[in-house]
Amino acid sequence: MSEVGLSGVSVELGGRDVVEDVDVAIAKGEWVGLIGPNGAGKTTMLRAVAGLIPYRGSIVVQGDEVASLPRRELGRRIALVPQVPSTPSWMTVGEYVLLGRTPHLGTLAKEGPSDRVIAGRALERLDLLGYAGRPLGTLSGGERQRVVVARALAQEAAIVILDEPTTALDIGHQQQALELLEDLRAESELTLVAAMHDLTLAAQYVDRMVLLRAGRVVADGTPSEVLTEDGITEHYDASIRVLEVDGRIAVVPTRRARP
């Protein structure tokens, strides 16, 4: 049984189907990169899986239909790292990471000692020891990104959904972030589903790529199967070359020849 299974999923936004008839099965422990041009429906599909918007068809997470799961139960199974996380500047790093414990608490309960320990370990795991008392407003972009991942880790959900997790980072921090996700996946047997823009970077890490275009899945397979010159030229309307560097795919933009 797949960890996350979408069959015949469509999502309507503003009167038109932004995601249309999508079938994707994601196995436990897999890292799936969701790629596609702007407006292809990547974020919408992730939001549907996270139970944030209504959908048609079926999305099954760990055996249960997303729409029928109570919010809190869904929060125990899926953690979401949004594209632009909201990080209130007054809140401390420790308080923010503790928010990740919310789905494990009673409705009006507050965190117990074990929750505080789990949050502390999440901070340690992300090299944020000593940051617990710092307000979020004082962090750099890279640090803030790690704090958001730490919150997702403290949530102890087996599935982590990331919406363009590296977009705001420089190339070094992008690599660090993705290496870290890869380590966490291995340690904690996480299933990762990430929308990604940088195809070359994505190809270094993900097991599998799903290419969306205009709401439909147009390619699904390993990076070398999905990232072909013809496919990217067609679906992104881009001029590129696909190279192989150290055994992995690299997509290099080229300048179009002018008449």
Partner: protein, 361 residues
């Protein structure tokens, strides 16, 4: 699967547990001391001089402490226990309610400018009170009718705002709701102004009510609003951690397992009912719901889990203090308390704002 994730995390060497800044003993002591001093001033201040010692003895006697006897004359005793104490208690309840509701609204709407009157409760209460003053037939005790009419008006306004906001769309829930509140408030205010202009004979009475003031009417008003205040305040205080979670936005709060719409509705109902009860007896006291939570925020930097209880305590003390000034500054005349809250509250807030620099949210 969950177990696997948690095992991997716990395989790490033991890290320092993380704490959220809750109520620190220092700030609780400061807030409680402020409240106690305010309460004491409220009980001592007045045209009849009752000594502090006599008040303490009388209090001890009322609490049935062994060996305590009251040395007060029957008249002083009545002034103390039937006039001053109930008024001080009422001021404390109203101040607590307004500050707590303001902090709650700021949290659930993620809007620093939110105050307890955000969704039209003040405009509705104003219309209700105006109607009661303008149209009450002779022979009915209007002092009993005004609070009921104001309470009902306030509730109706917020219900209408919520219905409009809800029908308008799901996507931008809180913004729509605020806009609906603004719309309803201006409509109710327009109707209120119209009724007021048609009944110029009652103009002064309506105006006095709108500026706010605490009645000296014994314990009746206290008992009248106490149940609403207790229930509303309890609901808001119990949700203080949930409001912290909601400060990351509706969508992220939802992924953390919060049912955002239901929680917001519950908190709006609690804040509205509590505020409507408060303004029903006190009129439209401005500014408390904004400056008390913000002053605490600026001074302590705390999240909602500490902000809510501190707002309740400090709000109570603040309004008792303002009422003392309202009663004594121009004695024997009384200044409307709404004037005092803004006149003294605004400069104080400006000082806090200046001296803390940009710690806003």
């Amino acid at each position: 699967m969950e177990a696997a994730a948690s095992q991997a995390v716990s395989a790490q060497p033991l890290a320092e547990p993380v704490r959220a800044r809750g109520l620190t003993p220092l700030w609780v002591c400061v807030a409680v001391a402020f409240l106690l001093v305010s309460l004491a001033l409220g009980v001592i201040a007045g045209p009849v001089d009752i000594g502090i010692g006599a008040i303490v003895h009388s209090l001890a006697a009322h609490l049935h402490l062994p060996g305590a006897t009251s040395s007060l004359s029957p008249v002083d005793n009545a002034i103390l226990w039937q006039l001053r104490v109930p008024r001080v208690v009422l001021a404390a309840l109203v101040g607590m309610m307004l500050a707590l509701s303001g902090a709650t609204y700021q949290g659930v709407f993620r809007n620093p400018l939110a105050d307890p009157y955000l969704l039209g409760v003040a405009a509705g209460a104003g219309l209700g009170a105006t109607l009661a003053i303008a149209y009450v037939p002779a022979g009915i005790d209007e002092h009993r009718l005004i609070p009921v009419a104001a309470f009902a008006g306030g509730i109706v306004a917020v219900v209408v705002a919520y219905a409009i906001g809800r029908s308008a769309g799901r996507e931008r829930d809180s913004v729509t709701l605020i806009l609906a509140g603004v719309t309803v408030a201006s409509f109710f205010t327009a109707v209120q102004a119209f009724v007021q202009q048609r009944h110029t004979d009652t103009l002064q009475q309506v105006y006095a009510w709108i500026l706010g003031g605490l009645p000296t009417s014994g314990w009746t008003d206290v008992w009248l609003i106490l149940p609403y205040v207790v229930v509303s305040a309890t609901i808001m205080l119990l949700h203080r951690r949930v409001i912290d979670v909601m400060s990351v936005g509706d969508e992220e709060a939802a992924t953390l397992g919060i049912n955002v719409r239901r929680t917001r509705l519950l908190l709006v109902v609690a804040a509205t009912v509590g505020t409507a009860a408060a303004v029903a007896v006190s009129g439209l006291i401005a500014f408390v719901g904004i400056i008390v939570p913000h002053a605490i925020r600026l001074l302590t930097g705390a999240g909602y889990r500490a902000l809510l209880p501190l707002s309740a305590i400090v709000g109570a003390g603040f309004l008792v203090l303002c009422d003392v000034i309202a009663r004594t500054a121009a004695a024997p005349a009384e200044i409307p308390i709404g004037v005092i809250t803004a006149f003294f509250g605004a400069p104080f807030f400006a000082i806090v704002l200046r001296s803390t620099r940009g710690g806003t949210r």
